[in-house]
């Protein structure tokens, strides 16, 4: 029997009013602006754009403010917003080789054309809390140096010239590209769908799964061939205009993992690769993504699928934090009727147990 339960409207309304009040906090403290969030909590904005799968700094900042800094809630808000807009189409694939690099490091080669560029990084900081930042901090002007006109080719392209690393997989023009926002996920999934899934996947989940490969659950001997962060230009072929129009620039982080070799009787051994790409400065995310991308290629590379990281159904079905939080958090919504039926069954079982063992059934306080 289904019993419709109504009620609680006033409680819900008042709870949301209280939430708005709690979100604002002490009104003696100035309200935080979207610009402040975007400028001073930039990496939180980057994460919300990546996992919200929508590049729009201002919307991500608004979502963070509305969610009181709960980034998964903010990601949820952004995902819901994107469903309200029509899609004009898909961009031309961005060229990360032409990135205006703000950071670019390789752990495999010391001397790479264009050099090792640290950029704005936490690396090599001492991780000591800085009381000087607490208030009124004014940073020094950044140092400058003459910018080199030497291009910064992808490290994997340099390795590729000698055939030491497998080439990137190619497809012919016109082959449809998988889009998991349009079609439900089916397994086995091709690499395009896997990368889309990982690009919007939860950073913490990917970090843990990537870490598990390093600890031996699907080990694939990675080196960070290259990590780069910077701006790339985006172009969109607009039917009405008749050519690919520039849309502006986005910030991206790219990670190329170089992994242990494969080879066969007919193919010379070469390094294999895992790939990570995400919006904004998202280094931990793209490194984890590249580790997991490589692990998920187990089947393709003839490796035994033993570890969770190599199981695409496991990884792809659990990487999305909006889905995950929806299912976990729905447990707190009313399940009164479900629970009543469980309770009824339990009582019956206990009655049967009491009769079989010839004991007096215990009185329940709830009865």
């Amino acid at each position: 029997m289904y019993v419709a339960v109504k009620g609680g409207e006033r409680a819900i309304e008042n709870a949301h009013r209280l939430l708005a009040h709690a979100r604002r906090g002490d009104q003696g403290v100035p309200e935080i602006s979207l610009d402040q969030i975007s400028e001073q909590l930039g990496l939180a904005v980057d994460r919300v754009m990546s996992e919200g799968s929508l590049y729009d700094r201002e919307l991500a900042a608004l979502a963070i403010k509305q969610a009181r800094g709960d980034l998964i809630e903010a990601i949820f808000l952004v995902r819901a917003f994107r469903a309200t807009l029509p899609r004009f189409g898909a961009s031309e694939p961005v060229d990360t080789g032409a990135m205006r690099v703000q950071r670019r490091v390789s752990s495999t080669f010391k001397d790479i054309p264009g050099g090792q560029i640290l950029g704005p990084t936490f690396d090599y900081t001492h991780r000591l809390l800085d009381p000087g930042l607490a208030e009124g901090f004014v940073p020094d002007e950044p140092a400058t140096a003459e910018a080199s006109s030497v291009a910064t080719p992808r490290v994997t392209d340099i390795l590729g010239r000698d055939g030491l690393i497998e080439p990137s997989p190619q497809v012919e023009d016109g082959v449809p590209i998988g889009d998991l926002t349009r079609e439900p996920l089916n397994f086995p999934a091709d690499r395009d769908l896997r990368l889309q899934n990982l690009a919007r996947g939860d950073e913490g989940f990917l970090l843990a799964i990537g870490y598990s490969t390093q600890r031996g659950y699907g080990r694939n001997h990675p080196f960070a061939g290259e990590i780069r962060f910077g701006e790339v230009e985006v172009e969109f072929f607009a039917e009405d205009v008749g050519f690919a129009v520039p849309l502006g620039a986005i910030e991206l982080t790219e990670c190329q993992m170089v992994n242990q070799f494969k080879g066969s009787a007919t193919e010379a051994p070469c390094f294999t690769r895992g790939y990570g790409l995400a919006f904004g400065q998202s280094e931990r995310k793209t490194m984890s993504m590249a580790l997991v991308d490589r692990a998920l290629r187990a089947r393709e590379l003839g490796e035994e699928v033993l570890a969770p990281a190599q199981d695409e159904e496991f990884v792809m079905s659990h990487s999305d934090n909006v889905q995950a939080t929806g299912f976990v958090e729905h447990l707190k919504l009313p399940h009164y009727v479900d629970f009543q039926s469980e309770l009824g069954l339990l009582r019956k079982l206990r009655q049967e147990f009491a009769e079989a063992n010839d004991v007096e059934p215990m009185k329940e306080a709830a009865e």
């Binding site: 590049y55 004009f88 849309l247 502006g248």
Partner: protein, 177 residues
């Protein structure tokens, strides 16, 4: 000095590849118009709407109307596997677009990342002006060229700040330090 060095390289390329080099001069007027429109758009998308509007005030504009009201939507951004392989869908971006028609018939289009419809409209207006023989020179001189200079200056400043974080390796001789 640097400029003349570049010219020498260019010259040597032309001498080495005389056949293909001569093709370069063979652009149709359509191609060169497309190139100019795209070059203007590539600058305007990086500017703020208020800066474009401010620069446009320096021109006496022809009559024009909205062919398509500004509209916000999404574009799916694509990357490539390994940076240079098969394309995949990375995630979407908000995009605003508009179309403007001059009284003389030229139709301009504006597309830009973000949700600033007014910026899309201003880009569309500039695109229409670039196509107009009467206004192409003015919009390049008053709007696009100064905004391009500002854009390049911002990029150069960032490149200089980035360059200062480039690692200079040196090898320590054994026994030192």
């Amino acid at each position: 000095m640097k400029q003349s060095w570049r010219l020498i390289i260019k010259l040597s390329i032309i001498i080495d590849n005389l056949d293909s080099a001569s093709l370069v001069t063979d652009v149709t007027p359509q191609d060169s118009l497309k190139t100019r429109r795209k070059a203007a758009m590539a600058v305007l998308v990086h500017a703020e709407a208020s800066d474009i509007a401010g620069r446009l005030r320096g021109l006496s504009l022809p009559r024009h109307d909205d062919l398509r009201e500004p509209e916000n939507g999404l574009v799916m951004l694509r990357g490539r596997v390994g940076g240079d392989g098969a394309p995949f869908n990375l995630g979407e971006a908000t995009v605003s677009r508009a179309a403007v028609r001059l009284a003389t018939g030229e139709v301009g289009f504006g597309y830009t990342l973000g949700r600033d419809g007014e910026k899309a409209r201003l880009i569309a207006l500039c695109d229409a002006l670039v196509q107009s023989e009467e206004f192409a020179g003015g919009v390049e001189r008053e709007v696009v060229a100064p905004l391009r200079a500002e854009l390049l200056a911002r990029q150069a400043q960032r490149a200089a700040q980035t360059a200062a974080t480039k690692v200079d390796f040196y090898t320590m001789v054994r026994g030192e330090g």
